[in-house]
Every structure is written in C-alpha cells, then in structure tokens.
Symmetry: C2
Subunit: 347 residues, 2 copies
C-alpha cells in the first residue's frame, strides 16, 4: 500500500498540500479497500489483444446494421453510445419490434465484468457479441449470413486482414466478435468524481457524497458492489432478504438457474456495475424502476433487509451520482460500401 | 465566366501547368455550363444562420431517440450518417416496425435541394424535420410531446439558450427543427472526383468517367440532373417517355399531385440529387431497384425514351461513381441526461 501511495504521489506530482489530506482521510483509506479507480486504457487481454486495427474493425461492425436480418438493427441500436451504452427501454426493441426479455446492460466498462449478460452466460464480450446478432428477438441473423454479408464487401475484407494479419481466411463470425470485443474494451469512462477521490483528491466528492459512500460501505452495499466496476463481479439472489415489489423481479425469469443447472439459484443475477448508474435508467433486469432513489430503497430491503431512511437513500444516491465518468468520444465509422453481392434486407 | 475562372485560378494557386489543361478541355468547359462543384461550407441562409451553437443543438436532436414516441427512433435511424445519410431499405422502418411509403432520401447535401421530400412538400430542411417526428409511421410523436421531453432536461435548456440567444422561451418545436436544419446544412460531401474535375483537375475523372459524363450531357440526363447537386432542383413526371418496369413507380403513389392540386402531375417527383448515388441504393422513390446500372437503364427509357446500350449504361454509371465525395466526420453527441420529469417511452 505504501509503495502504491508513493507511486501515486509521484504520478500526481507530489505536493505538501496533498499529503496531509491523504493521511488524514480514513474514508479514503477505507474506500480503497473496496474499490479501484477506472483506468484510462483497456486491460491487457492476451487472448485477444486490443490493437488499433481490431478496434477499427470492431467499431465498424458495432455500428453496422447490415449484419442484422432486417439490416436495420445494429449493436448500437440497443447500446447507444450517445446514451451511455444503453437504450432507455425497459427491455430492448429488436427485430420486427419484438421485445427482449431483460433490460440491456451498458457496454461501457463492461470489459471489467466477470462475465456478460444479467445471468453471466457469456464468458466474455466476444461470446456476448455473438448472441444478439443471432437472437431471433434482436438482430435475427445467422453466422453464415453475417459472413456472407461481410465477405461481399472488399472494404470489410481489408479491415479483417488488417485486424487479423496472417490469417488465410480472416472473415469469420468468431473474428467479428473478437473485433467487437476489442472495440468495446476501449469504451471506458474514467475520471468520475469517485475515481478522482480514490486517486487522492479529497475534494472530488461533495460532503453528501462522502456520507453516501460511508453508508454504502456501512450498510453492506459494497459487499456485492465493489472493486473496479463497483459491481459486475458476483452473482446474488435478487430478494435474498425480502421480496422486491411486484413486477420488479418477475417469476417468469429464473435468472442464472437457466445457466447453472446443478444448483438451485432461482432469481440469481449478476450484481451489475454501478458505474454511470445515474445515467442508465431504467433499473434492474426487468427495467421496471425508473428512479434511482427507488432502486436504492429496493436494494436496501430486498438484499440487505433494511428499511433505509429517506435521507439515507438520498445520500447513497448522491454517492452513486459520483460514479458518472467521462464517456468515450466516438466518431462514427464510415461503413464499407455494399456491393451487388451484398444481400438486401430480409423481412 | 472569365471572372469566375480567374477567381478560381487565384484560389487554387495559379500555375502555368494548370492553365493549358483548362483551356484545352472542352468537356470541362461544357460540364461547367451544367454543374457546379460542392462547397466545403454550408450556404448563407439569412433566415436561419448556421451558428456553431445551433449546429451543436441540431446534432444532439438529430441523434436523440427520446423525441420519438417509443424513444427508440431518431432522425439518425433512417438517415444513418455511417451509411451516407440513408438506411438501405426500400422504404424506412419506423414506429412499431411500420414501413413508410417512400425510400428515405439522404440528408447529405440536402440543403442544396430546391425543396424536401420526393414530392417537394417541405419548403426547407426545418419544415422537413418536423414531419417524420410527428408521422405516426415514423417517430410518432407530437409537437407538445417533443417540447415536454426537451423541457424536462436542463442540458437541453442550456443548448437551446445558446442556440437561440435572447429568446425568452427558446425550447420550441420550431426552434428544434431550425437547429436540425442548421446541423443538416453542415452535412456536405465535397471533394468528389467530379468536383475536382470541375475545379480544374483534368485527371480527376478516369477516361471511362469522362465518356460517361459526355453521354450524361449528350443523352439529356443533365437536363434534369444539373447544377450543384446534380439534381434536386426540379419536378418531372416519372415515365414521361415510357412506362417504368412494373412496381418501380407504383400506381398507389400519385407523387406531387397530392401536393399541387391545381394541375395534373400524377407520378411527378423531384429529380433527386445524384451526389453519392453509388453509395445509396436502393433507388427511386419506391426503393425497388438495387443496382445502379439498372436504375440508369430505366431512366434512359422512362425519361428519355432511349434504349441505352449496355456499354453506355456502364459508362454513365462510372460517371455517377465520380459523384462520391468525402462524407462528413461526425462525432457522436453526448445526449443531455434525462430527469425524473422526462416521460418514459410509450408503446
């Protein structure tokens, strides 16, 4: 810890003014046991290194509706990067205006989650990316269709060759998802007030946010929502202490039980990351709650068996607002031109 | 003309090498009687000056699905700026997956059209922008709803105040459409090979494209597709010489007759701009033709009564490919955060 502190001071430009604040802030020292600041750069992932070429291809694919059956739905449709990687829908609208079963999680910082989807059924972002493309409710395409579409465009062939150099036949569905993963790994939101606090700026949080942070740790929220993503790293039963309000955890959705069949884990879901949570209503896997205060109160009762006082709910909400970082700046890609071999949209 | 040439030379940096090419290229001299190069900057429009603040607001609105009833459809949905301002659909998919009646025209360079929509029923881009927002088939909102949504967000209030300084109550539907118009007026695609040719670079067109340009003028295409936008400045009956193939000009769509009721103008439509036409299939107001060669051949017979030879069709198509310019670089806006007063999406 001392070594880390020293390195941090060096990085920030050590100052006499800063040191006493560090030493004298027990809230910061305690918070550092639970949380880490978001980095500016994607993590090292040796299985799928994030190269500029792969990011470029992945971004192009992310914005391309032509890999859906209707050619009208793209990853960006539900993971709108102008809207913090979500779509502000209870559950997303997909192919032929069908509704998906769960609220769309944000792609921002998703690379730091232990697994993807509310039930964790995708090991990583590449595995995740392949699912909506093929889901009849979402993009309603097939692997073969995607490869047919992409292979029809010399512009894509070039992007795949650059992203996967040395591969004889780089235009594959798997490579498409690896490229999307690489792009999504760059979608980080560093610089939140809470990150600046963790990095040693005692004034980054307001007095209310400091109290909210203390409550967040005291009441037990941080037992599930911790670490880099303030969540996204464990599975828990929704309603372990008390039943959530009607409709918020519908009995029709068994959660992780459908993924892990050997143990009983009905209504078990991944605790979502709370980063930028103030910007991504509606809440919960059902998307049934629009107000962050209400969501905090429900979590208090359903997960902790606590009836939080309204003032406490407000303070925790204020703390959660300090988790809003700087969204990535994204320039729209120019999609490779279609050719006569590109299939037209299907109904 | 001499004055214009002199000014151009001055602008380009006069050179001895350039002058003979100018003087010796009758094709260029002839083309200049029909066409003008696209400018880099939006036109002066005193009625709605293009200010950076208005463009910023307009861009934000253009990308914001929350001004639609479902909060899932934005201007960008059908005028995808990654896809040359169109959506690659015969007719667009709107609210509840309903299909619009006509192929979506591109927003790129649309500011230079004499009027908007295939039938010219909107005088300008501001008037145009208000229509899809309110169309039950497209964004399915109302003026009151849009103002309610926008007024609920302090971030929008700030953008409107900056865009319309001095107005007591700037958050109006009309101002929203004026801002969208200002943004769209910046969506230009200068720098096409044909523009560089018009600006005096004799090598900007390939030999095939030069032959195609000559045919385009000789055969009569340039009678309707002329000037800055190579079209977009007149109304003509589709099928004036010969009936188009079945389905291409459906009898259910009377065209401009529904707008101008005093004269008979069944199947009269605005001749579309051909700028970037190679990038924006499918073609015609019906969107029934995917291949540019076929579209050229149909135009030859339907409008000019000519059965163009396949080689001629190819040459004209090559020329049309020289109309592809540099698409605008667009960075996604960060949309103002919703508040508790922002209505949730409606079904």
């Amino acid at each position: 810890m001392k070594h880390r502190l020293a390195a941090l001071l060096l990085a920030l430009g050590w100052s006499c003014a800063l040191l006493p604040a560090f030493a004298a802030d027990p809230l910061l020292e305690r918070a550092r046991l639970h949380f880490d600041p978001l980095p500016d750069h994607p993590p090292d992932r040796p299985a799928n290194p994030v190269t500029p070429e792969k990011v470029r291809l992945g971004k192009t694919l992310f914005f391309d509706p032509r890999i859906s059956r209707s050619q009208a739905v793209s990853c960006h449709t539900c993971h709108n990067l102008s809207l913090w990687g979500v779509d502000r829908q209870e559950t997303s609208i997909g192919h032929a205006w069908q509704r998906g079963p769960r609220n769309a999680p944000t792609v921002l910082n998703a690379v730091f989650n232990l697994a993807q989807f509310w039930d964790g059924r995708a090991r990583d972002l590449a595995e995740q990316a392949g699912v909506p493309i093929q889901s009849p409710l979402e993009m309603a395409a097939s692997k073969a269709y995607v490869v047919q579409v992409l292979s029809s465009m010399p512009g894509y062939l070039r992007l795949f060759r650059e992203a996967f150099p040395g591969e004889a036949d780089p235009v594959t569905f798997r490579n498409a998802t690896l490229a999307i993963e690489a792009f999504e790994a760059t979608l980080l939101t560093p610089g939140a007030p809470f990150d600046r606090f963790l990095q040693g700026d005692p004034d980054a949080l307001t007095p209310e946010q400091r109290k909210g942070l203390a409550l967040f740790m005291d009441k037990g929220c941080a037992a599930c929502h911790m670490s880099l993503n303030v969540g996204g790293n464990g599975y828990y039963q929704f309603g372990v202490a008390d039943a959530p309000p009607a409709g918020v955890c519908p009995s029709t959705d068994p959660g992780r039980e459908a993924v892990v069949e050997t143990i009983t884990c009905e209504f078990v879901f991944k605790a979502p990351s709370l980063r930028n949570v103030a910007m991504t209503p509606p809440y919960f896997h059902s998307g049934k709650v629009w107000d962050l205060h209400t969501a905090v109160a429900i979590m208090g009762s359903a997960q902790l068996g606590l009836r939080l006082a309204p003032g406490e709910v407000t303070l925790v909400t204020r703390f959660l607002e300090s988790l809003t970082g700087r969204p990535p700046v994204v320039t729209l890609p120019e999609l490779p031109p279609a050719t006569d071999r590109t299939p037209p949209p299907a109904p």
